[in-house]
Amino acid sequence: MEVYPHLLAQGLAIGVLTGILYVLVALGLTLIYGILHIVNFAHGEIYMLGAMGAFYCLVVFKLPFAATLAVILVASLLLGLVVERLVFRSLRGQWLQLVVASVGISLIIQSLGWIAFGIQEKNVPSFFTGVVSVLGVRLPKERLLAAAVGVVLVALLYVLVYRTKTGLAMRAIEEDEETARMLGVDADRVAALACAVGFVLAALAGAFVAPIYSLNPGMGLEAILMSFLIIIVGGLGSITGTVLAGLLVGVLQSVGAVLLGAEIAYGLVFVVMIVVLIVRPAGLLGRA
């Protein structure tokens, strides 16, 4: 097939926008791993709950968008605090038990989701329909909005982790929890906060992605698989690495599909990721 420059440009644009969506979904996962060293398998289900929350608030209860975001934010924050207090805290440091616990939470939420939300796909109507055309490249407005939110959340998370005292405490725990405690850091409080923020990020990602995709209780699975791929390639716990890996996956998928076809591009992503991990086992920006 002949590849026209505008087709390549369109592919690149779609790749970048899709990549930012991946980053948006993976951010909370990287935070929870980075601070608590927990591979949170329930992350995909929190993302699903955020999307379903958006559906029920906006479509069923007809709440305004701001109120919807507030409800999702508060609910996910509380859920994060409860899960951290009841499950994660008592298992801290026990890697395998934490994996089992988070898989369990994930399965419980998903099973309850099928019962509570039903089998029919759900949809949140888009507030920003249509496309913006830039030099012949078509950019869907709702994806632009989600990308903008993604950029803002990355910036906020960066500020929280690298420019605040709480962030300093988080990084101290990440480095050496015992020493941090001796220096007066309330590790339990900081860990609870990190978990809650991780849950909030996942739920908000779900809420902003909801108008772009259709929703069902199984949607978290695809999200978690892609998120794991991204945070591992980016370097576990690295925010910048997550951003780089998300964009890389998005662009590889899209431009690869234009050049080679979607079927080959799907495999190509994994080939490139394996090569990256062979060359840099800790990921793009991870520490060995």
């Binding site: 097939m1 026209y4 087709l7 369109q10 592919g11 779609i14 790749g15 899709t18 099973s111 099928w114 039903g118 089998i119 029919q120 796909e121 759900k122 949809n123 109507p125 888009s126 329909t129 496309v131 078509r138 869907p140 995709y213 259709s214 069902n216 199984g218 949607m219 699975l221 695809e222 998928q253 899209s254 690869g256 599909a257 234009v258 076809g261 979607a262 079927e263 591009a265 799907y266």
Partner: protein, 392 residues
């Protein structure tokens, strides 16, 4: 004290009496039909449609007599999650543990590993699977396909739709599995028949099941300027997203969806106006029979939601099966299969039904029922065509 003793004695007598009495339930033996289908995971809607179709059929059949004994249908569900390994485990459990000899099994992809079990045990399989000549062939005399096959659908409609729309360039976007690969071949064969009229097959792409981003695949297809994009058996959520994302990329043509039963409201909710001009086969814009409407209403009342698309064909097949068993007066699956294959059934929810496909598959195990096509306009299905489904 005496009063307590008396009350206790009365209760005890009642309990023992009730347990010993030949109640209605105990008077009949169970006739087990398996719903070997996904009832969890992304394909759960298909499986629940089958399960509920069987339950409604069981209600309507009530008690039936075979060789002087009374029976009542007992629907037993085995969740396959649409995965081959779980389907193998499910059918093993059904056949060897629970003595189930009849059932509905969903999925072309899950069939290859269970076909040896079906052949060995004579399990009578009502296959809900569009693709796969390996299911319907003389080696599997007890496997009946109870939905239109994709070969049948493409034979019936590809030329018809292209001519009706005046389309010259046809592209294909299907799932990256056996169904997608099989159907790409089927549509190419049909498009080739129109070569002389200037109609050509211009591109094919595949996506992974469960995908939500179709932009990359669509880019390559749209660059070929197709008039029709055939989306194969993409489910409702996928076709809605395909339509939405294709329109965002500037595509204005039609979509044709072959094997999946689509929900108009869900497409409209997800894709809005972008969902217009999706032509879906197997969709009735107007109910074809009274029974169809009645089942839809009963489902809505009982389960509080619109009936999944697999409900009606399952119901029809189950009623047809029980009728045949009563006629031949045996549960021997091979004898029942022979009788069923040579029978026709007037009370199918879609209209008169029979078995065909002898020329294509070498055995009459493909259901022949009227096949409708509908087109989505403003969030509602409008009639596009109805064809006999006659298949050779």
């Amino acid at each position: 004290m005496r009063r307590s003793m008396l009350a206790f004695s009365v209760l005890l007598t009642l309990t023992v009496g009730l347990a010993a009495a030949p109640t209605g339930a105990h008077a009949q033996k169970p006739f087990k039909i398996g719903a070997i289908v996904p009832v969890s995971g992304p394909a759960a809607a298909f499986g629940l449609g089958v399960q509920r179709g069987l339950e409604l059929a069981a209600e309507d059949v009530g008690v039936f007599t075979v060789a002087g004994e009374k029976y009542k249908v007992d629907v037993v569900t085995y969740d396959t999650v649409y995965a081959p390994d779980k389907t193998v485990a499910a059918i093993n459990r059904a056949v060897y543990n629970d003595g189930v000899k009849y059932g509905v099994i969903i999925g072309a992809g899950v069939h290859p590993p269970i076909l040896p079990i079906i052949r060995e045990t004579g399990f009578l399989d009502f296959a809900f699977a569009a693709a796969g000549r390996q299911i319907t062939n003389p080696e599997n005399p007890t496997a009946f396909r109870i939905m239109a096959s994709s070969d049948q659908l493409y034979q019936t409609y590809t030329v018809e739709i292209a001519q009706k729309l005046g389309a010259k360039r046809i592209a294909f976007l299907g799932p990256n599995d056996e169904l997608g690969k099989n159907d790409a071949k089927a549509i190419k064969t049909e498009v080739d028949k129109m070569k002389a009229k200037g109609v050509s097959f211009v591109a094919e792409e595949y996506y992974e099941r469960g995908a939500r981003d179709f932009g990359p695949a669509l880019l390559r297809l749209i660059a070929q300027k197709p008039d029709i994009i055939d989306t194969d058996g993409s489910p409702t959520g996928s076709i809605a997203l395909i339509a939405k994302q294709a329109r965002e990329l500037g595509y204005n043509g039609h979509f044709v969806n072959s094997t999946a039963v689509l929900e108009a409201k869900a497409i409209s909710d997800i894709a809005g106006k972008a969902g217009d001009n999706i032509i879906a086969l197997r969709i009735w814009a107007n109910p074809p029979t009274k029974l169809y409407t009645e089942l839809a209403e009963r489902h809505q009342k009982k389960w509080g939601e619109a009936a999944p698309g697999t409900l009606w064909e399952t119901y029809g097949a189950a009623r047809w099966l029980i009728d045949t068993i009563v006629k031949v007066s045996t549960f021997d699956t091979k004898k029942v299969a022979d009788a069923l294959g040579n029978s026709s059934y007037a009370s199918h929810p879609f209209g008169p039904a029979s078995w065909g496909g002898e020329k294509a598959y070498g055995i009459k195990r493909q259901i022949v029922i009227p096949i409708p096509a509908a087109i989505l306009k403003n969030g509602k299905w409008e009639p596009f065509d109805v064809r006999s489904g006659k298949f050779e």
